[in-house]
């Protein structure tokens, strides 16, 4: 089945102006059938107004074994968060 029906990742945009978000995955023979299946499986309760499907094989994922070197170095760089800075009263609302 995985040969004739490869895996696809489904992304749905809940409203205009928002980004497409990953909703799940499904099996389908090609992109046309994948879009239909995405509509049938993931938009039954008015979840969105636009659907993307991407072959799962086209996604390059980060290696879980490299999670430490990828993501931990940001942990102590709290000055990257806007809340780190005190805004002078005179500036007012930003």
């Amino acid at each position: 089945m995985t040969q004739s029906m490869p895996l696809w990742e489904v992304f749905i945009r809940p409203r205009n102006g928002l980004a497409h978000k990953h909703a799940g995955s499904l099996h389908a023979a090609d992109e046309v059938m994948a879009l239909q299946a995405a509509r049938d499986v993931y938009t039954r309760r008015g979840e969105g107004n636009s659907v993307w499907v991407v072959p799962s094989a086209a996604i390059t994922a980060s290696d879980p074994d490299q999670a430490g070197e990828n993501f931990e170095p940001t942990g102590d760089k709290i000055y990257r968060h806007p809340t780190f800075y005190e805004i002078p009263e005179e500036v007012g609302n930003m």
């Binding site: 099996h27 239909q36 049938d40 499986v41």
Partner: protein, 248 residues
Amino acid sequence: MTVYHALLELADDHLVLGHRLSEWCGHAPMLEEDLAMPNMALDLIGTARTLYDRAAALEGKGRSEDDMAYLRDERAYRNCLLVERPNEDFAHTVLRQLYFAAFMHPYWIAAQDSTDGVVRGVAGKAVKEMAYHIRHAGEWVIRLGDGTEESAARMRDAVEALSIYVDELFDSSPAAREAEAAGVLPVRADLRTQWDKTIADIFGEAALTLPEAPYPQRGGREGLHGEGLGHLLAEMQSVYRAHPGAQW
């Protein structure tokens, strides 16, 4: 024969086909279709409910949509024969769906000008649903027809088996003619050109040919049905008949 009977024919078409599709629930060949089939079933049953409700109001005997669906026997059902055909395999199911949706889509487009407000309301919603049913069933017909040796053979078998039920779609019963004359429902025969075109486009891609049907089957509009409808109704009506007046 009245508009009431014509709406009943239309409602029966939708309920019976909706029930047939619902039989795939839990049994479809893949999870994706296990959701797609009931999705389409619910579109059809939703349409049937509104039409039964409207028909019951026109009849004026205080019957409910449930009474219409669950308390009429086989001979009182007025659906066309196509919609009651058994699911058989997936090829039969998607072809039956394509044949019906290719008829109902232009039907609802025309019905948007109905003199009946309820029919206009149903039409506005159903026209979008039928467009999707054509697309969903049509893409499957193309892939099965132009697929493997096995899928192509099954698709050809389905075409052979179901094409004798096509002509009945375009016949107008005396009740339908009355509703057509009153501007409530579209003239069925007028939809043939569009149906032929929809099917020819899809069959062209599916490497299928529509066979001549020299002996088309008819009788559904007079209550003369195949053996399968009795079994379908027995199952569908069993709960309501065992618990008359049950609400859900």
